[in-house]
């Protein structure tokens, strides 16, 4: 079976250099990262610590009352191991105060609200600390749209956005993310018992192999099916990618003038830097 080539040693040095370069050229030397206790944020934080120094990283833990206590203890494990600065901000009161007004809200609305609440807190602390918000979304999530727009998907720079989940695992192990975090089942922990793979309906290792061939290697639908992927699986994943394209773009702007932002007003983000 096709493995996704990873080369963890080279990957680590490229990403450390990426974080250092892209942060420092903005004129700051610190980042703020939300620590969920999961493998993505743990890896992001540890790579940043290597790039900028442990005292230049603020890991913020943002538990809700129903969050699994394990998540918090795993996040604390990362703080201990990496020596970064940390802060716990419990979001229960503000979330509950809001939903008192809308008590019928379902899990999805509550989950999205929590993700966005956390985002506002990270950005607030990035302003307080003169830092950038470090992203933690991986390529699998970005392609499947498995994240909250303007929530966990929001960041200034993201070292993991071109790594599939299975690559994140391999790199996390190499970089020394605590084993208990690397080996546990991935979960957004927005409600009790939630797991990514349960919610998505397939495993990361299956979907990563498919996405790698489909996106990176440009295999056609027929070629993927010939490779042994079930038709329904290929179509489901294709549809997920198409339907979540909006999460990977700026909002749609009505074109009126000669030069419209993001259409024919084109500049690099690193403009002048």
């Amino acid at each position: 079976m096709n493995q996704i080539p990873t080369n963890v040693g080279l990957l680590r040095s490229i990403l450390v250099s990426f974080i250092r370069n892209e942060v420092q050229k903005v004129g700051v030397d610190r980042v703020v990262v939300g620590l969920s206790g999961g493998v993505d944020s743990s890896l992001s934080a540890m790579l940043a610590a290597e790039a900028l120094g442990q005292s230049h990283i603020l890991g913020v833990m943002l538990p809700y009352v129903s969050s699994s206590p394990e998540s918090l203890s795993h996040a604390e494990l990362v703080v201990q191991k990496s020596g970064i600065e940390s802060l716990i901000v419990d979001i229960t009161r503000q979330i509950d105060a809001y939903f008192e007004q809308f008590p019928v809200a379902d899990q999805r609305r509550r989950g999205n609200k929590m993700a966005r609440e956390r985002m506002t807190i990270l950005y607030d602390h990035s302003a307080r600390w003169n830092a950038l918000v470090l992203g933690t979304s991986n390529k699998t999530e970005l392609l499947l749209g498995y994240g909250t727009l303007y929530g966990d998907m929001a960041s200034a720079i993201n070292p993991l956005g071109d790594l599939y989940k299975t690559q994140v695992w391999a790199l996390a192990e190499f970089v020394g993310v605590p084993e208990v975090i690397v080996s546990k089942k991935p979960s957004a922990d927005l409600w009790a018992g939630q797991t990514d793979e349960g919610e998505l309906g397939f495993s990361y290792s299956e979907v990563d192999r498919l996405l790698y061939l489909m996106v990176d290697e440009r295999y056609s639908r027929e070629e993927l099916i010939a490779k042994g992927f079930p038709e329904g699986f290929v179509d489901d994943v294709t549809l997920r990618i198409m339907n979540s394209q909006f999460k990977r773009r700026l909002p749609v702007i009505a074109k009126i003038s000669q030069r419209t932002v993001d259409r024919d007003f084109r500049y690099a983000r690193d403009w002048g830097k």
């Binding site: 080369n7 080279l10 250099s17 690099a268 830097k273």
Partner: protein, 311 residues
């Protein structure tokens, strides 16, 4: 004769010509201290690479103040600069300019502008229309910018035009990882063709690549000087700034060309005749897409305009 050529593997600021000019001056000072006689700066390092709509703002006319300043700098050490050149009819070229002894010795306008994948060059730049070797105080050389070298015809022409060395300023992004390698897949590909070209065309290949990141895209560095035997005379670090110096001993071109007189034996007329024939009809690959007709191959379709590929 042997000369000391250097490569400044730098990380320029995107869209900030003044800052990059200061960086050029610093590197020229360092190069002079190392006895460098010709310093190669990578592609578009006076401006940065992913310029997009900034192109007209950083473009330089050959009569501009910055160019005059660069000419002045070349009185001490000659160098090849990478910049956006603006022509008198307001076209913008991705250009590499050789400054020597206070003058412009040569301007190469990049011919092959990658416009696929992450690249957008043809959207912003006009295409160069010539490949020329030219004489310098070191001997006859040619400049090919980055993607130019991915078209073997360019280096073939330069070699036939008498170049003993190719200078290839690049802004080559890292991409693709394979287990167990010290460099990314794109770096490996470049190193393979650089070595093959140096040996095949029996010349020095001086490849200068930049480093740093622009909007998350990293440039892999790894600049190198190869001799006509394919040996690496000098090699820069991967992914990090560096300044390397190598001896470019043209007598080794003589030795190699004596042992393997490939260029001497090149049949120019044959090549030209075959190229004329190929230009006049679509390639055999195109014909194969359709079933052959009875009574021989009849080819429909308009003649291709000379030397221009429409995209």
């Amino acid at each position: 004769m042997s000369y000391r050529f250097g490569i400044a593997q730098i990380n320029p600021k995107l869209g900030d010509v003044e800052a990059n000019l200061a960086l050029y001056e610093e590197k020229l000072r360092q190069a002079r201290d190392k006895g460098v006689e010709l310093l190669l700066f990578p592609e578009l390092t006076l401006t940065g690479y992913f310029l997009r709509d900034m192109v007209p703002n950083v473009a330089l006319k050959l009569s501009s103040r910055v160019i005059r300043h660069l000419k002045g700098l070349s009185k001490k050490v000659g160098f090849v600069a990478g910049m956006v050149e603006e022509s008198s009819d307001y076209r913008f070229f991705n250009a590499a300019i050789h400054f020597e002894a206070g003058e412009i010795r040569h301007v190469h306008r990049k011919v092959y502008l990658p416009t696929y994948g992450m690249f957008d060059e043809q959207r912003y730049f006009a295409r160069g229309d010539r490949i020329r070797a030219y004489d310098t105080k070191f001997g006859r050389i040619a400049i090919l910018v980055c993607e130019d070298l991915w078209h073997p015809s360019t280096i073939g022409l330069a070699a036939l035009d008498g170049a003993l060395a190719i200078l290839c300023p690049s802004a080559s992004p890292l991409r693709g990882l394979t287990e167990g390698r010290v460099q990314d897949d794109n770096a490996r590909y470049w190193e393979m063709i650089n070595q093959a070209y140096a040996e095949t065309f029996n010349l020095f290949l001086i490849f200068g690549n930049r480093v740093g990141f622009e909007d998350g895209v990293g440039f892999w560095g790894g600049s190198e000087i190869l001799d006509p035997f394919g040996k690496r005379v000098a090699k820069a670090k991967y992914y990090d700034e560096d300044l390397i110096v190598g001896e470019v001993a043209f007598e080794s071109v003589r030795r190699k060309r004596t042992m393997a007189p490939i260029l001497r034996d090149e049949d120019l007329d044959l090549t030209i005749n075959e190229l004329m024939r190929i230009r006049e009809r679509p390639s055999h690959l195109k014909i194969q897409e359709k079933a052959p007709r009875k009574g021989g191959l009849k080819v429909k379709g308009k003649k291709r305009t000379r030397g221009r590929k429409k995209r």
